[in-house]
């Protein structure tokens, strides 16, 4: 709770409870994850509390093995929680579901399907009422938004890693999730492609404003994309170590940001945290 009061977002601190919850999209309460091992229980996460508002973009940064991926897969419902609660719009989650779209580290497309079919797979699932033409329009709309107008009918296996991850982004947005979960989606790309994809992601996000939680180990990426950067302590028993508000206005331009006076201040804050 001390951490929350440190965070001075006006939309959290409200006196009456009703407004308080209405703005919270994703609520993690006292979350705990334990892996039993022959040598006794291994506690990955403990006492983890985090509230993420509607239309907020949060990045999570921490050392590898600190349990950030575990946390994300618990939110996605792919990994059972040991204790505590995760709720979306005050409803506790039950397993995975398309209300929480996930972009994985590897694009994980079905390599035998075309880009359009890959996106269609999810669209058909969440828009059962739509006509075939409408579904196709949804897929084409999002694929064109990620710059793949010319590749609707290409097999996923023919695309480069960067292009595949663009399809991953389109697939996640096309199902109109309430929360978007991103697990180091650009970690395997070189930095130029990474920059391009960050631009693609933030451009489409600026339109849709889907609450997003993204894991990264790239300090610059964390600052460029986020409203808040959550720093996690190293495991075992990882929890939230610090939260940094990024006050740059949106839409942001990368050039303006790196020349902004606060940029290197934010950067230092995060590097200090990671180095110590």
């Amino acid at each position: 709770m001390a951490l929350l009061s440190k965070n001075k977002r006006p939309d959290i601190i409200t006196e009456n409870g009703i407004e308080y919850t209405s703005k919270v999209m994703l609520d993690l309460q006292d979350l705990k994850k334990v892996y039993p091992t022959p040598k006794g229980d291994y506690v990955v996460l403990e006492h983890l509390n985090l509230q993420i508002m509607k239309e907020e973009f949060v990045t999570i940064i921490g050392h590898s093995g600190c349990g950030k991926t575990t946390m994300l897969s618990m939110i996605a419902g792919l990994n059972p929680i040991s204790d505590g609660r995760i709720s979306v719009l005050s409803n506790p989650i039950k397993g995975p579901g398309p209300d929480r779209g996930v972009i994985f580290q590897s694009p994980s497309l079905m390599p035998w399907l075309t880009t359009l079919e890959n996106v269609m797979l999810g669209v058909r699932q969440v828009f059962p009422q739509a006509k075939k033409k409408q579904r196709e329009d949804i897929c084409k709309y999002y694929l064109s938004k990620v710059g793949l107008e010319g590749s609707f009918y290409k097999k996923a296996s023919e695309l480069s890693q960067g292009m595949q991850q663009r399809v991953g982004i389109a697939r996640a947005f096309a199902i109109k999730p309430k929360v978007l979960l991103l697990d180091e989606p650009f970690g395997m790309l070189d930095s130029l492609t990474r920059g391009e994809l960050q631009d693609v992601l933030i451009e489409i996000w600026n339109k849709e404003k889907i609450t997003a939680v993204m894991i990264t180990h790239d300090v610059d990426e964390a600052i460029f994309l986020a409203d808040r950067v959550v720093m996690m302590t190293s495991g075992p028993r990882a929890k939230i170590g610090d939260i940094l508000d990024i006050e740059f206005k949106r839409p942001r331009s990368r050039k303006a940001i790196i020349e902004h006076n606060d940029y290197y201040k934010y950067r230092k804050h995060l590097i200090d945290f990671l180095e110590h």
């Binding site: 329009d137 064109s144 107008e149 109109k176 070189d190 180990h217 180095e275």
Partner: protein, 279 residues
């Protein structure tokens, strides 16, 4: 005359109609004892460049000179550290390095070689793992072995092809420091290929971007006038660091914008539908 010189180097694969020029008009001069970083992106032809310098490939036109002589074959004078470690999986750490030492010092005594192997294993602090096989080691430890192996062959020049690309940030930082220490100790010449601008700024004397291929060529160089030893945390406050970093990043952003040229102007309209979730 520079220590390593690439003059008007072109490299073309295939012939006739199928020919693709991977590298074109590459000019690079590296002085002895210098640490140069080339920032390249996937598909930009950096592996071709590395292979030209270590002698696995010959240029289609132009010349690659090492100490004034054309490079025609691989040589122990130039040690290469690859991204994928390339260790022999059936040999232990000791044996992996021993193979290389035996190759370089065939005439020396067994004792000399043994000491040398152990010395370099100690240098990358892997003595506790000396009898382990690669699959028992983490990625960072494997890359350490590969670094020790390259250095134990006593190269005059170290060529690193994205050596730390596959490692996590923390291990990456540690290994950067270790490579710098070793480089500092006997002032070898070093060429680092990387896709991480910060890694380049932290380690090198000069950074040169490699513009993406086909027809990849080197961009303008950025000198890094920051005193060594450099400290990652205080670097962030250094105005020189900020200036250089922003300069490089802006240059790379320009390249990126040139590359993404979407021409299709078709507007797709999103149908107004609400998703249905089934619990």
């Amino acid at each position: 005359m520079a220590y390593l010189e690439l003059n008007n180097v072109n490299k073309t694969y295939g012939k006739g109609a199928n020919a693709t020029e991977v590298l074109s008009n590459i000019n690079l001069h590296i002085e002895e004892g210098e640490f140069v970083a080339i920032v390249g992106f996937s598909g930009s032809g950096k592996t071709t460049l590395v292979n030209l310098i270590n002698g696995l490939l010959q240029p289609t036109s132009g010349e690659v000179l090492f100490k004034g002589n054309p490079i025609v074959d691989t040589s122990h004078e130039r040690g290469v550290i690859f991204q994928n470690y390339s260790l022999l999986p059936w040999l232990t750490v000791y044996q992996n390095i021993s193979v290389a030492v035996k190759e370089t010092f065939p005439k020396e005594s067994k004792q000399f070689r043994d000491e040398r192997v152990k010395e370099y294993i100690e240098m990358v602090s892997l003595t506790p793992a000396i009898n382990k096989r690669p699959k028992e080691l983490s990625g960072g430890m494997r890359q350490r072995v590969s670094i020790a192996r390259a250095l134990a062959m006593d190269p005059e020049m170290i060529i690193m092809d994205e050596p730390l690309g596959a490692l996590d940030a923390l291990t990456r930082g540690n290994l950067q420091d270790e490579i710098l220490n070793i480089w500092n100790k006997d002032k070898r010449t070093a060429l680092l290929i990387t896709n991480d601008v910060d890694e380049g700024i932290y380690m090198a004397d000069r950074i040169i971007p490699l513009r993406p291929g086909p027809n990849a060529t080197l961009g303008p160089e950025f000198k890094i006038n920051i005193e060594r030893p450099r400290d990652k945390t205080s670097l962030n406050d250094d105005p020189e660091f900020k200036k250089t970093r922003n300069g490089i990043i802006e240059y790379l952003m320009e390249i990126g914008e040139e590359r993404s040229t979407s021409t299709d102007e078709t507007e797709y309209v999103l149908p107004d539908l609400e998703p249905k979730y089934f619990d």
